[in-house]
């Protein structure tokens, strides 16, 4: 580990945000376990990432506690009312043990109760109506609007103001969990969280969350925390996955043609392959409460283990031709939804979105191509890869 001259993980290496995979491949092949910060170990191979995601003795870190510790600094002289720690208090990906199970069941039941198929079909029609006939548009706006119309129905966002505001709100919620976030962004996130209290009205989703958590005596702020994480999970990761998947397909006419022709049975491996290839959640963290031995490396207790899902999903020990989209890939043990007790709660809905819309969306985009004269932009985000802009223009 950390041999002299071995490659060191650095998300600020040139071109990382546009395409992290080359740098991650070097890390995986040359230095697959690295102590990047004191007591913070990064893992790049599928073997360790898969094992640690499912490891029963590993916990998740508590983001709310981190904010509690940092709020005095973040909001010094800002005049803002600190709300970060409270806002993230009930996010299940940062909870452990029994309370994690309780909250997970509540949010899971609320998601499962929704007529998702109906919402998805309506959102698709509404989005296409809005974008039909345009000479140019942005692919990320197209996919973002589609997901927005789904969540608008899910959470009954009547005072939502605009797609742009919800997109920024959700993006800040995702960004708040990233690495290298400055206090200026945390302050903007804090304002967004306070603004976000106004956007929900009564909805079956909220009713189920309330009913399932009734004995916990949660206040309005706690319910807001639960609603926010649900919104962020439903909007940001879905948008990120769909926009990257569509971008890759627009660049790859062979796979696009295959998808257009394939039947419903052939569609499932395609969808799994798109999740593997795009890996919207690129990293996740676990904590070891006991020392951990990995080959000749002793990882001290209470270390942070950064599991690089994006790298694991391209590991050639597990996936043949990992940097290609292989639509009929037979074995696909990708880790895009994490694993173990923290497996992504929105996985079923994310799969359903693609099952219903992948083919009709490609058919809608058939008359468009990527406008090569405009730059393709990615956000400067590490944990969640976020496509910012891809200009499309009409070809016929």
């Amino acid at each position: 580990m950390d041999r002299i001259a071995a490659v060191k993980w650095n998300p600020f290496s040139p071109g990382y945000f546009q395409n992290p995979h080359e740098h991650l491949r070097e890390c995986r092949e040359e230095n697959p376990v690295q102590e990047v910060f004191p007591n913070a170990f990064f893992f790049f191979r599928h073997k360790e990432v898969s094992e640690y995601l499912r490891h029963r003795d590993l916990e998740v870190s508590n983001l709310s506690d981190y904010f509690k510790e940092k709020e005095a600094y973040i909001f010094k002289d800002s005049g803002q009312c600190p709300y970060l720690s409270q806002g993230m208090k009930w996010w299940p990906m940062y909870l452990n043990h029994d309370i994690h199970k309780r909250i997970r069941v509540a949010i899971g039941k609320a998601f499962n109760s929704l007529p998702a198929q109906e919402y998805i079909a309506q959102a698709f029609e509404e989005t296409n109506r809005c974008f039909a006939g345009r000479e140019n548009f942005d692919l990320v706006d197209y996919t973002g609007n589609f997901i927005f119309h789904i969540i608008r129905q899910m959470f009954n966002l009547v005072n939502y103001e605009s797609y742009e505001k919800i997109r920024r709100f959700s993006n800040l919620l995702a960004l708040g969990q990233d690495l290298y976030v400055p206090k200026q962004v945390y302050q903007e996130l804090n304002e967004a969280i306070l603004w976000g209290r106004r956007i929900y009205s009564d909805s079956p989703f909220r009713d189920i969350v309330l009913a399932e958590t009734a004995d916990l005596n949660l206040g309005e702020g706690d319910i807001h925390s639960l609603m926010m994480v649900s919104l962020m999970a439903a909007f940001d990761t879905s948008k990120d996955n769909l926009s990257v998947a569509m971008y890759e397909l627009l660049k790859n006419p062979q796979v696009r043609d295959y998808i257009t022709r394939c039947d419903s049975k052939q569609l499932n491996p395609v969808i799994e392959e798109l999740f593997r290839f795009s890996s919207p959640l690129q990293y996740t963290i676990r904590i070891n409460r006991q020392p951990l031995q990995l080959e000749d490396i002793l990882i001290p207790e209470n270390s942070k283990l950064y599991l690089c899902i994006a790298s694991a999903n391209r590991d050639d020990r597990v996936f043949d031709d990992p940097d290609s989209l292989v639509p009929d890939r037979a074995e696909n043990p990708h880790l895009s939804f994490g694993g173990g007790v923290h497996l992504c709660l929105g996985a079923a809905i994310a799969r359903q979105e693609l099952r219903i819309c992948l083919q009709p969306m490609l058919s809608f985009l058939e008359g468009y191509e990527i406008d090569e004269e405009q730059p393709v932009k990615f956000e400067k985000q590490i944990f969640m890869r976020n496509l910012k802009s891809v200009s499309l223009r009409r070809t016929r």
């Binding site: 600020f12 600094y73 973040i74 976030v181 206090k183």
Partner: protein, 76 residues
């Protein structure tokens, strides 16, 4: 904008020290800035000097105000 005096003022603001007590040759470690403070100063440097994707590790590579100010000016 003078990068040296900008950094001196910024570090005084972050640490609560008087500007004239911020020594431009002292290594940054002596100011007890944690990683969040360093990242937040990096963000302000990007905005103030029009730099993009500033790697926060510049603080360890150019570990005093004088060294970092010289580097910032070389990037402009």
């Amino acid at each position: 904008m003078n990068a040296k005096s900008w950094l001196q003022n910024k570090i005084a603001e972050e640490t609560g020290l008087a500007v004239d007590r911020v020594n431009c040759d002292e290594p940054f470690e002596t100011f007890s800035l944690d990683s969040l403070a360093t990242i937040s100063i990096s963000f302000d440097i990007e905005q103030a000097f029009g730099l993009e994707e500033l790697n926060p590790t510049v603080f360890s590579e150019y570990n005093s105000i004088n060294k970092l100010a010289t580097w910032i000016e070389s990037q402009q």
